[in-house]
């Protein structure tokens, strides 16, 4: 009997976990290792705002309980950082100086919140909202009825914004070109959608630029956002400028990268042992004749499944035709297939 194959998946989100599940279904004997920088198992990130409803226990947010990983024979290396990939030797270099070898690698490391260059010097004053710890910190720095200043306001941000508003916090959105990202919205529609946001109780500031951010100790809200004209005060300033694929460790791995990791519709990279899925990859769209991203929970899960099938010998292609649009639902609120979770 030959050695069982070792599948390594970088990323434990929707794409990676879906892939792991399908890998196990397709190959009962293989080794599956998932790697993530986070301390926790896969959680429903879109449910993080539940902490504002008083949820203290992150286990309520788990997509699968720990036993799921045990039962499926999936090793999850958490709090672990991949620093480089050597496709020749088929090893991952880890920050903690261990090398992890793989037979087939799936890069499903997703994306991190993009911070425009102009704001990077204020990073330490910006709240993040990617992990359970971020959510707890945000709750700690947000007094009851406090004000959140959201910069950019992509769809992930707006999802949070509507939940925060519902939870009684006040929201100010400083709209930029990333408003509604990844939806591309025509100016006409944009006006309509902004109106809907305002109707939802969200203050929207348009056409003004952020000049800087300051911490204030003078009592009152802890942050001042300095604008080109007039300042904004809020307890928390949180950026949502769309996602930036998390790929630094792939630089030097010899695979093609544009903004994301470039893959064909079968999700294969230019290395025969490496696939990619989820927010990290840019898929060749034969119809549109260019590489494009597909976001949203459902898309990402679908990619995880297809990658797993193809890594185990199939030749499935991603459906790259489907269009997803922002719309206004029956309640007069903004809605999007982007927010459709299971």
């Amino acid at each position: 009997m030959s050695e069982p194959l070792h599948y390594v998946i970088i990323g434990t989100g929707a794409a990676g976990t879906e892939a792991a599940l399908h890998l196990r279904q397709r190959d009962a004997d293989c080794r599956i290792t998932m790697v993530t920088a986070g301390r926790l198992l896969f959680i429903r990130r879109y449910e993080l705002p539940k902490v504002f409803d008083g949820v203290e226990d992150w286990r309520e947010l788990l997509v699968y309980p720990p036993e799921f990983y045990d039962e499926h024979g999936i090793t999850v290396r958490r709090n672990s950082w991949v620093t480089n990939v050597d496709p020749e030797r088929r090893v991952l270099g880890m920050r903690h100086k261990e090398e992890v070898s793989y037979d087939r690698l799936l890069v499903a490391s997703g994306g991190g919140g993009y911070i425009p260059a102009g704001l990077s010097e204020y990073r330490h004053l910006l709240q993040r909202f990617a992990t359970f710890g971020d959510a707890i910190r945000m709750r700690q720095s947000l007094p009851e009825g406090g004000r959140v200043i959201m910069l950019g306001a992509d769809m992930t941000g707006l999802d949070l914004a509507r939940k925060l508003t519902a939870a009684g916090f006040r929201l100010t959105v400083v709209a930029t070109e990333q408003l509604f990202w990844p939806h591309e919205v025509s100016p006409r529609k944009r006006t309509r959608f902004v109106k809907a946001l305002v109707a939802m109780g969200i203050e929207v500031i348009q056409g003004r630029a952020v000049a800087g951010i300051e911490a204030t100790n003078s009592g009152g809200p802890a942050r001042r956002v300095v604008m080109d004209k007039g300042d904004l005060r809020g307890d928390v300033v949180i950026p949502f400028f769309g996602l930036m694929p998390t790929l630094d460790f792939m630089v030097g791995a010899g695979v093609d990268i544009e903004r994301g990791l470039l893959v064909n519709p079968q999700l294969a990279t230019t290395d025969k042992n490496i696939w990619a899925a989820g927010d990290v990859c840019q898929i060749w769209s034969p119809e549109e004749n260019h590489y494009r991203f597909y976001y949203g929970w459902k898309n990402v899960k679908m990619m995880g499944r297809i990658a797993a099938l193809n890594m185990t010998g199939d030749n499935e292609a991603v459906d790259t035709v489907k269009e997803e649009d922002l719309f206004i639902n029956a309640n007069g609120e903004i809605d999007s297939p982007f927010w459709e979770y299971d």
Partner: protein
């Protein structure tokens, strides 16, 4: 999983590393600080058999709000100072417990050699660059252990100032830079820990620091034994190093001379007990300490102590056996040797404390008993008890009686002094060398009342009776718990009976069983010889089923109970080299309780 947790503090922290990593020192600071902060603390350190560098050390500390009696089977936190040692212990971390480890080791790690790859899905990993943090704080990687302690303290919001006090006290007498360096390393860890959102679920309620009350002292069984010796006025000690008893001798070596006491490291265990008996013969309070193999060597001399009726105290800390066995593993398999190990009919007193405070009590009382009943007294500890730390409150007034010897009334009564005179309580007035007019020789030969060799039938009959009868009074020796019942009163479905260190686990299991609605009690037997029948028999009568959990293969205590009382008992025997598992005791209790219920129904 239970979503509603009562916030009751009960955290067990295991620190695992090489002997050279400062593992035990880190655990020491943790447990002392938490005890001073007002928590109940119980701790158990495991040392390597090897001397230095390679051996695995684990320091486990259980921090609770309410008194507990044993270590938990699972730890809530595992701190790895050496992954190769800690990886096999990942399994002992409870679900949703934390694993804290070096995230930036000095050199490359073999694939599979890093603990992060071994954490179970239900564990919460905290990778921390201990080494870099130590280097930044102190200029050296040596204080990694302090960074780790600081991190856990910060993560749990433990009282930083108290840790500073403990660190300062620990390094008192060393160069000031040692203290400041260690505190700097601790603080670096503390800051990082405090800034981390904690994702594991251990609960640490804040406590008000104990004030006014007698200070709780963190002490292990061996140290408490020493304190008992000192309070009882030990004058001489003779010993030969052997794990896990050695530290008794080491602490005595430092402490005894301060009060004029004399300690000699002898050439072997035979000489140790021989000298202790020689010193006992002169009237001095004397003792030795050893483990099973040493006790095996001592048995002939203990027979001499019995027949010559010379007081001596022998501390025996058991380890895995037979023979050299498992020197650094705990076991309770020297009961037979302690109680029965002698040529001929040679009963002696055997005490087995069940906790650290009991070590203190039994140690002191052993000297009283040895003197009062003119006999060797064995105090039976084990590795777990010797090395287990508990927060102990010592009595303000010395509880031990300094003179218990039945002396000769006055010299020269005209008739020759009869050393072995038959009296009402079977104890003969004893004259020691230096007493005018009472010169006599004592011997390992059977002898008449004057001590003269005599092997006539009536003499041997009488003297055998004398030597056994006189010990019976020890069952009622004042101010010591010989046996004690816990749990439900009256008739119970399951009655636990235990001895030695395992009684902590027995109590824990009993409390859980009671909560489950099982009618349950537990009795500890501290005096193994003579066996306290008057207390044990009525207890056995109250129990539908009796369960005797002990850390030996043969069921030595169970045999003792059955032979002394004629009652059958259920046995739970384990020899893992580690403390008994509470869940295994519990499973047996449940099984027996079900059986008892069925019996009652039929």
């Amino acid at each position: 999983m239970s979503r509603k947790r009562k916030p009751v503090t009960d955290i067990q922290i295991a620190i695992c590393g090489s002997a050279g990593d400062g593992t035990i020192a880190a655990g020491d600071i943790l447990k002392r600080a938490m005890a001073r902060a007002g928590y109940k603390v119980i701790a158990f350190d495991l040392y390597p058999a090897e001397i230095r560098g390679f051996g695995k050390c684990i320091a486990r500390t259980r921090i609770t709000a309410n008194q507990v009696y044993s270590m938990k089977q699972k730890s809530d936190v595992l701190i790895s100072l050496d992954d190769s040692h800690a990886i096999p212990h990942v399994d002992e971390v409870c679900d949703y417990g934390a694993i804290i480890y070096e995230d930036n080791p000095m050199s490359k790690v073999e694939e599979g050699g890093h603990i992060s790859g071994h954490a179970a899905p239900a564990h919460i990993p905290y990778g921390i660059p201990f080494r870099e943090m130590s280097e930044r704080a102190t200029g050296s990687a040596r204080s990694r252990n302090m960074v780790a302690v600081g991190y856990i303290a910060g993560l749990y919001g433990m009282p930083q100032k108290i840790f500073h006090e403990i660190v300062t006290a620990k390094f008192k007498g060393k160069a000031a830079v040692v203290t400041t360096g260690n505190i700097a390393a601790f603080d670096a860890g503390y800051e990082a820990g405090a800034a981390t959102i904690r994702l594991d679920f251990g609960v640490l309620e804040s406590r008000s620091r104990r004030r006014g009350k007698a200070d709780l002292v963190m002490m292990n069984g061996n140290a408490a034994t020493v304190r008992g010796c000192l309070d009882a006025g030990i004058e001489t000690f003779f010993g030969y190093p052997i794990t896990p008893a050695t530290s008794i001798m080491e602490i005595l070596a430092a402490e005894m001379p301060k009060t004029g006491g004399r300690l000699v490291q002898t050439e072997d265990e035979i000489s140790a007990v021989a000298a202790a008996i020689g010193a006992g013969y002169t009237g001095a309070r004397s003792a030795t300490a050893t483990s099973g193999p040493g006790l095996a060597l001592m048995t002939e001399m203990l027979g001499l102590g019995t027949i010559a009726e010379v007081p001596s105290v022998i501390f025996v800390s058991q380890r895995g056996g037979p023979s050299t066995g498992m020197p650094t593993k705990t076991e309770q398999s020297d009961l037979n040797l302690a109680v029965f190990g002698v040529a001929g009919d040679g009963q002696r007193i055997v005490l087995a404390p069940t906790n650290v405070e009991g070590c203190y009590k039994c140690a002191g009382k052993a000297f009283e008993m040895a003197e009062q009943y003119q006999t060797p007294v064995i105090v039976l500890l084990d590795l777990y008890l010797s090395n287990r730390y508990e927060a102990v409150a010592f009595p303000e007034k010395n509880p031990f009686v300094r003179k218990c010897s039945k002396g000769v009334s006055r010299r020269g009564t005209g008739s020759p002094y009869s050393r072995y005179a038959i009296t009402d309580d079977w104890v003969s007035p004893r004259a020691v060398p230096g007493t005018e007019g009472c010169q006599h020789a004592i011997t390992g030969l059977e002898h008449d009342v004057f001590g003269r060799p005599n092997d006539q039938a009536h003499v041997h009959e009488m003297m055998s009776r004398k030597r056994h009868e006189k010990l019976e009074a020890a069952i009622n020796h004042p101010d010591i718990t010989i046996s004690k019942r816990f749990g439900d009163r009256g008739k119970v479905d399951v009655g636990l009976l235990g001895w030695g260190s395992t009684f902590g686990e027995i109590l824990e299991a009993m409390f859980v069983a009671q909560k489950e609605g099982i009618k349950c009690a537990a009795m500890k037997v501290v005096m193994l010889s003579p066996f306290p029948k008057p207390a044990v028999v009525p207890y056995l009568d109250d129990c539908a089923e009796v369960l005797v959990p002990e850390l030996n293969y043969e069921g030595q205590f169970a045999d003792l109970v059955t032979s002394a009382t004629g009652r059958p008992v259920n046995r739970l025997n384990r020899v893992p080299g580690t403390p008994m598992r509470v869940d295994e005791i519990l499973a047996e209790i449940r099984r027996l309780a079900d059986g008892a219920k069925q019996m009652a129904a039929e």
